[in-house]
Symmetry: C2
């Protein structure tokens, strides 16, 4: 059975649209871009469309490739102090001369709608309500919408990135799953993946997970997305595993759309955090 | 073979003493206590002794049980801004009328020598150099001093507390271990513990881990310490497992002393962070 991220995304956007429709002052997202990365242009367009659909205000600062870090920090501080701005998102990657870590952590945690600041990941670890990283948060939401309870389940995460693997582990732990985090240095990976009730893969290696690596009736969440000669492709060899699993996310149309939906949720959450 | 935390603690304190001896301005720890909890009095005395031994300055604020939160916050802000203070430690537990979370997170992360603020656990998740929670940091140091490499090892942590289990998992992950976090909601716990190359137990249940739950030649780290009729006792049934393991920490004399030693290390680290 397919976990249809695209369908759930549309449900979420409609729910948000209804809620925002009742607000006199509309939440506002600001996206900061430095340079003119083609992929970034596409992603920002998607975010703009999402905001338009829900009814959020949207502003896009597109700065020169050679912008210096002090000017960028100054802009972020200004937006931190601007009450009309509820969410601040710095589109990554930044040019090499800019320290991304410093820039991300300059964003006020209550406006950090990507959930990437040290403080927000720390609050997640401490099981506090905060702004969570959109992709793992989207995985949790997708499972929840299909009434899949993760409590007491053996959850195996392959990949330990700051963006997915690590926050994913804390979200699963906070929901009472037993969590194992595997990665490139894991020996006998299959021994772990084969035991998983829920297997989450985020390593960026096309078709890496094959049928012999999973158990019968597993739930498989494929966070990977790679562009190959045969088109977009996940970390899981979908065709080989699809008849063995209980649920699986397709690529595209699984976790990807959920990420945008959760950004939409985070903007409203940020607005509420700032106005409570 | 015994991992002798007491011996390693003394080595560390001597190393710190040598280093501090060469500093013109000595690092300073401030401990804030609210009320007169007996156990807290003992722990603070230990910290005072450690500071005296190394050559740190030490100051103890002992506030009335009915101190209100605003006065406590005011004191913390004052100490945050006092350049002569390098480490601030609020002795827990606080009286019930005070929100511990709010107090802990009021401490400047660069002075948070207990490593408990949201920001510091977040920096640990992001693999940044920061002040780490003393007990799990002590476990890492103890293994390191015995030349036990955790990279590529199967590490199983039983317990998911903010103080031990969660930061422990991130420290192990940062050192390339494959990490599983088990807890009270884990089904078939023995299936996980029996696979562990390194088993770390922090649940506060005396003698909970027995010989049938571990593999031959495992390394067992016992973080638990409970007072029973038979004396102090760990989470691991030491007598039953000691002949099966490769290494084990005793209780007392294993992880406990390391916690104090790592507080000592954190104070000097905080001093350096503030003076770089």
């Amino acid at each position: 059975m397919i976990l249809d991220g695209k369908k759930i995304k549309n449900q979420i956007l409609d729910e948000l649209k209804d809620e925002v429709n009742n607000l006199t002052i509309k939440p506002k997202l600001v996206v900061i871009q430095v340079g003119n990365n083609e992929a970034s242009n596409v992603y920002i367009k998607q975010k703009n469309n999402m905001c338009n659909y829900i009814g959020y205000n949207f502003e896009h600062f597109k700065l020169d490739e050679d912008t210096n870090i002090d000017n960028l920090l100054e802009l972020i501080y200004k937006l931190n102090n601007d009450d009309s701005v509820n969410g601040i998102l710095v589109q990554l990657p930044l040019p090499k001369h800019i320290d991304s870590n410093k820039i991300i952590n300059a964003i006020s945690p209550v406006k950090d709608v990507d959930g990437l600041t040290d403080t927000n990941i720390g609050m997640l670890c401490h099981k506090k309500d905060s702004l969570y990283s959109c992709t793992p948060y989207g995985v949790m939401e997708l499972l929840d919408r299909y009434d899949i309870d993760v409590s007491e389940k053996n959850v195996v995460i392959v990949g330990r990135s700051d963006l997915v693997g690590k926050p994913m582990s804390m979200m699963m732990l906070n929901k009472d799953a037993t969590v194992t985090i595997c990665h490139s240095k894991t020996n006998n990976l299959t021994e772990f993946t084969k035991k998983a009730d829920i297997l989450i893969v985020a390593i960026g290696k096309p078709n890496f997970i094959t049928t012999d690596m999973i158990r019968e009736d597993a739930i498989v969440i494929d966070v990977g997305i790679s562009r190959t000669e045969l088109g977009l492709c996940g970390d899981v060899d979908f065709d080989s595993v699809k008849d063995k699993v209980k649920y699986i996310t397709p690529v595209p149309g699984g976790v990807g759309p959920m990420t945008v939906a959760m950004l939409g949720k985070n903007i409203l959450k940020a607005y509420k955090l700032q106005n409570k």
